[in-house]
Symmetry: C6
Subunit: 74 residues, 6 copies
């Protein structure tokens, strides 16, 4: 895997949130390395409310980590 996570520090809360999204997607990429298969899955979960809520939950957990790393940007 190429280098993709040099740091958990971000300039703003919003960049931290976007890093949390990236963290959430990377576990999928590690588990399913085929970009083709991932592309086939996208149309399914992106139109399923419960799937989207589940994605949002993973982002929320990763955002806890990123926010703590940044001392909540205080």
């Amino acid at each position: 895997m190429e280098a993709w996570l040099p740091s958990l520090i971000t300039a703003t809360p919003q960049e931290g949130y976007e890093l949390a999204i990236k963290l959430s997607r990377m576990a999928v990429k590690y588990t399913q390395p085929s970009a083709e298969v991932r592309a086939q899955l996208r149309p399914v979960y992106e139109k399923d409310a419960d799937s989207l809520t589940a994605v949002s939950q993973v982002v929320a957990i990763n955002f806890q980590t990123v926010a703590a790393a940044n001392n909540y940007w205080k």
Copy 2:
């Protein structure tokens, strides 16, 4: 994405809770950018008890982050 998260600091616990709701919704918006599709999904999950509980769980996780950022408004 436009700027939407300038800070995790809020004046009151209730505003913090409402920010947690926003954080929960934004992951869905990033994953499913189409407002039209999101509008189609709403009637499904808003009448499903388990879907609503799942939404509430994501809000609870995000509220942990917001509450910690605000030192629990103490």
Copy 3:
């Protein structure tokens, strides 16, 4: 939404737990504002073991927040 969360501080652990229940319910109320629809959903999930466990999980997450806010009532 009316004011409903003036503080996370409670006098006792039990009141804190009951606040966690309230926090869990409010996300549902924000997402499904219709009291009528919510009343229709209640008979479903209150007789489903897995639904009740899911509710209990959300309460547990919110109770972490309330307990931390109260320094665990120590």
Copy 4:
């Protein structure tokens, strides 16, 4: 509801774990106050592996709270 949670402090880790189990059950009791209905649900989830895992997850979350309250019994 009668008084049932005077404190999060316990003498031992095991008593803390058992308090976490109680905390997990109480949210169910608050949501479904009928002992009769709860008794009907028990035979279902206690023979379902996924239901039992879900119960274990709620206990794990509550145990985090109880353990932190007791400074991990150190």
Copy 5:
């Protein structure tokens, strides 16, 4: 229940992880005390990918607790 949790302190991270597995299983044992029933459930969930992921999630939550108790073995 016999004594089974004298301490959260372990000599190594790996022993801590194994304690997290034990913590995850004990909630199941408290909820379903019959060793016979638990033995019947095992062949089901141990061949179901989603069940195994759910087990892994409970272990992850308990490992957070054990790791914090041991100050991350630093």
Copy 6:
């Protein structure tokens, strides 16, 4: 089980994330020790969007632990 977790400390955030993936997989290995069975399960969950999201959630929880152990690599 052989020694597999000497430390939670890693040189970089990315190595920490990869350790979180390993932690997530080890609970599955402890629960289902047969490499053959695990190999049979892989084609199922690696093509199921919800299964992949669930895996990503476990990684996120373990990454919280690893990140805290490393003081967020600050």
